[in-house]
Symmetry: C2
């Protein structure tokens, strides 16, 4: 009853989904949409616009009961692959599900766009077609890292900006704080600056200047944090240049893979080793649960003038569902408007974050 009332109270949005984006498209995309309407978490209320090969999408949809879905299909004959150069989409792939999806958002036919496709291509296409939010120097992509605490930490940038300036890092901190508060319910999120020592004097000139800017800001800045603090949960938002963030993100994947391979090779030994690994399996599974990116369900592409959620190419139906929910929150909580206010204090003196 309560749930029903909540549903009817929540605004309805149109969300475009790149149905051909992920590695298992359009299967996981279609299943993700079905899951989204099945659970209707928090009174989710939206029309999903599936963008992609209409035949393939319909074929998959026809296998299920679609009566609970509120959807439409926009046909796109072409697909952006993981190997496509990001900058080529605008030149050669204007008929792709990705380009058309972002275009629908640019023309405000939809309120948000979701893709598990080529991240660099979504970034490049969105930046050109949507433009930047006023006051934002560079759009950024973050990733959630698991922590010892209940909440993961948002590390940004993780690859969009290899060369950074203090102003960029400051903006990442502002955008990350707003997104964390609005979309993940973390009040007054702590912000850490990734460095190689706690002292203000540590690191490069860029980091020293950034430290100063963050210290003088309205943000809940806790100072420099080190590599060992990333997973400790000490900081809800962690800012760094895109080179360091990208290396870290991929290193964490490699770490996970190394441990899996060690466990596997242990199990290849004698009966005793096999038994040992078998006995350890439930504990190991539980231990790594938090490392499952699917739980986080994509991240916002922050700084572009439109609501865009990007997810891992391997996104499962569960992950796609969560990406759709995150897109809904991104729009419903006016995240981009709040970013405008925070980064342009003179533009809007009231309602500043």
């Amino acid at each position: 009853m309560d749930e029903k009332r909540k549903t009817s109270n929540r605004r309805n949005y149109r969300i475009a989904l790149d149905a051909m984006g992920g590695d298992f498209a359009p299967i996981n995309e279609v299943l993700g949409v079905i899951k989204a309407f099945e659970s209707k978490l928090g009174g989710f209320n939206a029309e999903i616009v599936l963008v992609g090969d209409e035949d393939k999408i319909r074929k998959k949809l026809n296998q299920y009961d679609t009566s609970i879905l509120n959807y439409s299909i926009v046909h796109a004959p072409d697909v952006v692959t993981m190997h496509d150069e990001p900058s080529m989409v605008l030149k050669n792939k204007r008929n792709s599900s990705m380009f058309i999806g972002v275009e629908l958002l640019a023309k405000r036919y939809v309120d948000a766009f979701v893709s598990a496709g080529n991240t660099g291509a979504v970034l490049a296409t969105s930046t050109i077609l949507l433009g930047r939010i006023p006051g934002v120097s560079r759009p950024t992509i973050g990733t959630f890292f698991p922590t010892k605490n209940k909440y993961p930490s948002l590390v940004l940038d993780v690859g969009a900006n290899v060369d950074v300036k203090p102003r960029y890092l400051y903006e990442f901190a502002v955008m990350g704080s707003i997104a964390t508060t609005q979309m993940y319910g973390i009040e007054n999120p702590s912000v850490g600056l990734l460095n190689i020592g706690e002292e203000e004097s540590k690191g490069t000139d860029v980091l020293r200047q950034t430290h100063k800017m963050l210290k003088e800001s309205q943000l809940n800045f806790i100072g420099n944090i080190e590599g060992k603090d990333i997973l400790s949960g000490i900081s809800d938002v962690i800012v760094c240049d895109g080179f360091t963030g990208n290396v870290l993100l991929k290193f964490a994947e490699g770490f996970y893979s190394l441990i899996k391979s060690k466990i596997k090779s242990m199990g290849n030994g004698n009966v005793l080793n096999k038994a040992m690994v078998l006995l350890a399996a439930p504990a190991l599974k539980k231990m790594f649960k938090d490392f499952n990116y699917e739980n986080y369900g994509g991240v916002p592409l922050l700084g572009v003038n439109g609501a865009v959620i990007i997810g891992h190419g391997k996104s499962s139906p569960e992950a796609v569902k969560n990406m759709i929910y995150k897109a809904y929150e991104l729009v419903d909580k006016n995240v981009n408007e709040k970013i405008v206010n925070a980064l342009n204090p003179t533009l809007v003196t009231s309602n500043v974050e």
Copy 2:
């Protein structure tokens, strides 16, 4: 018999040990010396010069049978702590075990110096007192990361040089390759450049230029590697700037600590959880064996004009023993001379690495 002959054939060196360096000094240092003489690995043949508080060192030594040891003591009343600013040692701590130890090496009273003390302070003191090897722009510190293979990979730099130029990174690759071959027996070690993509065009200008230098060099350069490749064992030597390397090193420590805390919190649950963790314990222990820094026993401070081995502050007696052995190899294999030849091809046209 064979072992004996080998022993008598190997040259005798004098190795100074900072007996007050580590967190448990001088206990672990003294025990490490005893271990070194007990095992005499590979015909190890040296006199150890223990530098530090003579009373404390003697008190500890007197608890053991020292008849098998070949040692002397050089008294040093002062100690460099982990909190001392590296640059202050030269000004205020000239009576410390660290300063005196490096000075003994600078005057060639000893052939090598070993310390588990403040790494930054050893770096600064050694660079000033010993100077740089001809052809080396910046001394560097590396660390071994475990891999899926038999051998760990040497990542350098991990903190000595935050700002790098292509020439620095090239020199790190040369020095890392020589040390890996001579001290760890890896023939023709592969060299990877840490980047955010495999293509030559990826990363910063510095990385693009470095890629070109490494490609044109005599090194076994395998190209750019990504964060996920670090632990894969694909590359024996991995070069990166000291900021990225330091963040990675500390992140790996944090990762290890997060997993330990997850396991611990699992065991705090009900009886079933407790049993699960108990059953998993042997597998987990085995899995993390390779992550134990003690097995690697310190790393050479590459590029200073003298043989210096630095180790973790928490070094166990086993780690100290391995550090002493590594110092022996560093001297005995003429690593620094080989670096001179490799970086100054016009200086010595024969015998170039």
